[in-house]
C-alpha cells in the first residue's frame, strides 16, 4: 500500500524514506518507584488500533528529524488528528 509521510522539514515524501518509530506512549516513566509492569508497558505494549493512531517517525533517508503524525492504520493515510483529540 502506498504511503506518504509529511516531514515537518521536508514536506510530503515517499513513506519508504522513513523509519517507523512506534506508537506514541507519552513521556518515559520516572525511574523512581518504577515497577517492572510499568516499564514493560512503556517498552513493549501497543494499542494496535485498527484506525487512527498517533505515532513516531524518523526521516532516515532525509533530514533526520523525529516527529509524530496521525495515521489511519486501516488505510495508511495521514489524517489531521485522532478522533479522541478532536
Amino acid at each position: 500500500m502506498a504511503l506518504t509521510i509529511t516531514c515537518p522539514i521536508c514536506g510530503k515524501r515517499n513513506g519508504y524514506e522513513f523509519k517507523f518509530g512506534g506508537e506514541e506512549r507519552g513521556p518515559r516513566p520516572d525511574e523512581k518507584d518504577l515497577t517492572p509492569e510499568a516499564w514493560c508497558d512503556y517498552v513493549h505494549m501497543n494499542n494496535c488500533v485498527a484506525g487512527v493512531q498517533k505515532e513516531w517517525w524518523f526521516h532516515r533517508d532525509g533530514c533526520g528529524s523525529w516527529f509524530t503524525i496521525h495515521r489511519d492504520t486501516t488505510t495508511n493515510f495521514e489524517v489531521e488528528k485522532a478522533e479522541a483529540e478532536k
Binding site: M1, Y16, F20, P36, E37, C48, A50, T73, T74, N76
Partner: protein, 407 residues
C-alpha cells in the same frame, strides 16, 4: 455461493443464548482448539464466532509452509508435534490435507550465518528433529536451479536442510478441521462479529455479537492478526504486538523445477513450487504497522530481484497473483498463550506472526487442554505474557527485534 451442496461444516444454525465455550475468530487456531476440545475432552457446546467466513484471515492467505527447525528449546517441541500431526489429522479427519513433506532448504549467505545454523541444528537434533548443515555444492545437488556462483549480492555458503518439513494445503486444513469439529457438535457461526466480552467480578460472563448476546463462562480470542486490537479494545489488555501486512505472490505455472521449499533470510525471500506448478513466494512484512491487507509494487520488485539472483532460471517469468494478509509480531517472535490471568475464563492465543499455520494443530490441542482442565499444560508454560515483564524474552531470533519492524 451458488452451489446447492451444504458446506462440510453443516447448515447455518441459529445462535443460541448460551454456550459452554465461545471462540472468537474462525481461523486455524480456533478451529483446531474446537476440534480438540470436542475430541479429547468431550466439550462440544462450543460456538466459533467468525466475522467474515472461515479462512478469511491468515488461514486462507498463508504460504502453507510447515517446519520444526526453530531456534529455541521451547518452540521446537510445539512445532515438532504440529509437524507430526499432519498425517494423523489427514486420517482422523478423513480429509486429504495434501501434506507434501518435500523438505526445507534454508540458505546461508555468510560464515556467521553458517555458525548460527549450527546452533539451530543442534537444538533440532537434541529434540529429535531431522536437520543438517550442507555446503553450497550439496545444496545445488538438491536444487539444481540454484545459483551458487560468487557473483550475486549474497553468495550462497551453504544451507540448513530440514527434510521432514514442506507444504500442506492450507484451505484443506481449514475445511478439514471445520468438518471434524462440526461432526462432533461444534457450531460455526460465520458473518457474526464479536463486539464485546462481558465480565463481572473478575469473571467472564458473556460475549456480545452482531447476532445477539451469548452467556458463557469461557472465551478464547484467537483471531490471527486481529487478536491484539480486539483484546485491547474489548478488555483493555495491551499486548507486545505489532500488526503488519505481509505479502505473497505466485508466478505462472511452470514445469517442475523446485522440489524443496527454499528460503533465504538475507534476501528476505522464500519460494516453493505448488502442485499446480506455480512458484509461490513470500516477502517480508511491510515496514510499518497496518491493517490494510494490501499489496505493493515495492514487494513485487523485491521478490523478482531476489528470485532472479538465486534462482536465475525464473528471469522473465510472470507473477500471476499477489495478495496480503496480517502478521501479528511479538518482539521475541514467539506467540502468547495465556488463560485465567486477567479474568477467570478469559483465554488468548495470538502473536503467531507468520508462523501460525505450521503450529495450529498442536497449539489448538494444548489450548483445548488448557481450557478444559483450567491448568496450563507444560508445553504452553513458556508462552505466558508475563515473560515480557520478567524480561525472559525467547531467543527465537539471534538479535532482539524492535518492532518498529526493520528486520
Amino acid at each position: 455461493m451458488f452451489s446447492k451442496q451444504k458446506p462440510l461444516w453443516g447448515k447455518k444454525k441459529k445462535l443460541k443464548s448460551s454456550y459452554d465455550v465461545v471462540l472468537i475468530g474462525g481461523g486455524l487456531h480456533n478451529l483446531a482448539t474446537a476440534y480438540y476440545l470436542a475430541k479429547n475432552h468431550g466439550v462440544t457446546d462450543i460456538a466459533i464466532i467468525e466475522k467474515n467466513f472461515i479462512g478469511f484471515g491468515g488461514a486462507g492467505r498463508n504460504t502453507a509452509i510447515v517446519r520444526a527447525n526453530q531456534r529455541t528449546q521451547h518452540n521446537v517441541p510445539l512445532y515438532k508435534e504440529a509437524l507430526d500431526l499432519w498425517p494423523v489429522l489427514t486420517k482422523e479427519l478423513d480429509y486429504n490435507l495434501m501434506f507434501n513433506n518435500c523438505g526445507n532448504l534454508n540458505l546461508m549467505h555468510s560464515e556467521a550465518a553458517m555458525k548460527a545454523a549450527r546452533t539451530t541444528i543442534s537444538t533440532a537434533q537434541f529434540h529429535g528433529v531431522e536437520s543438517h548443515l550442507i555446503d553450497a555444492k550439496e545444496a545445488k545437488e538438491l536444487v539444481p536451479a540454484l545459483n551458487i556462483s560468487d557473483d550475486i549480492t549474497f553468495p550462497i555458503h551453504g544451507a540448513m536442510f530440514h527434510p521432514p518439513g514442506g507444504i500442506v494445503r492450507h484451505d484443506a486444513v481449514v475445511w478439514g478441521l471445520a468438518k471434524g469439529a462440526a461432526e462432533k457438535g461444534v457450531e460455526i457461526h460465520q458473518q457474526t462479529e464479536a463486539l464485546a466480552v462481558g465480565t463481572k467480578n473478575g469473571k467472564v460472563t458473556s460475549v456480545t455479537t452482531s447476532e445477539g448476546v451469548i452467556n458463557t463462562k469461557q472465551v478464547l480470542i484467537s483471531a490471527g492478526g486481529y487478536s491484539a486490537g480486539l483484546i485491547n479494545g474489548m478488555l483493555g489488555i495491551k499486548l507486545p504486538i505489532s500488526v503488519l501486512t505481509i505479502q505473497a505472490m505466485v508466478t505462472q505455472p511452470l514445469k517442475p523445477l523446485l522440489n524443496h521449499v527454499v528460503s533465504s533470510g538475507a534476501y528476505h525471500c522464500y519460494a516453493n513450487q505448488t502442485l499446480k506448478g506455480e512458484i509461490a513466494t513470500g516477502a517480508h512484512m511491510d515496514p510499518w504497522p497496518n491493517y490494510t491487507n494490501l499489496s505493493t509494487a515495492h514487494f513485487i520488485k523485491h521478490q523478482a530481484e531476489a528470485l532472479c539472483e538465486f534462482l536465475p532460471c525464473l528471469k522473465g517469468v510472470r507473477f500471476m497473483r499477489i495478495w496480503g494478509g496480517l502478521a501479528d509480531m511479538t518482539p521475541d517472535m514467539a506467540p502468547i498463550l495465556e488463560g485465567n490471568n486477567h479474568f477467570d475464563g478469559f483465554f488468548m492465543n495470538c502473536g503467531w506472526g507468520y508462523f501460525g499455520f505450521k503450529s495450529c494443530s498442536s497449539a489448538g490441542k494444548y489450548m483445548a487442554e488448557y481450557m478444559a482442565t483450567n491448568h496450563c499444560p507444560d508445553m504452553l508454560k513458556p508462552f505466558a505474557l508475563k515473560r515480557y515483564e520478567e524480561h525472559k524474552l525467547m531467543g527465537e531470533t539471534a538479535a532482539l527485534v524492535s518492532y518498529s519492524p526493520d528486520n
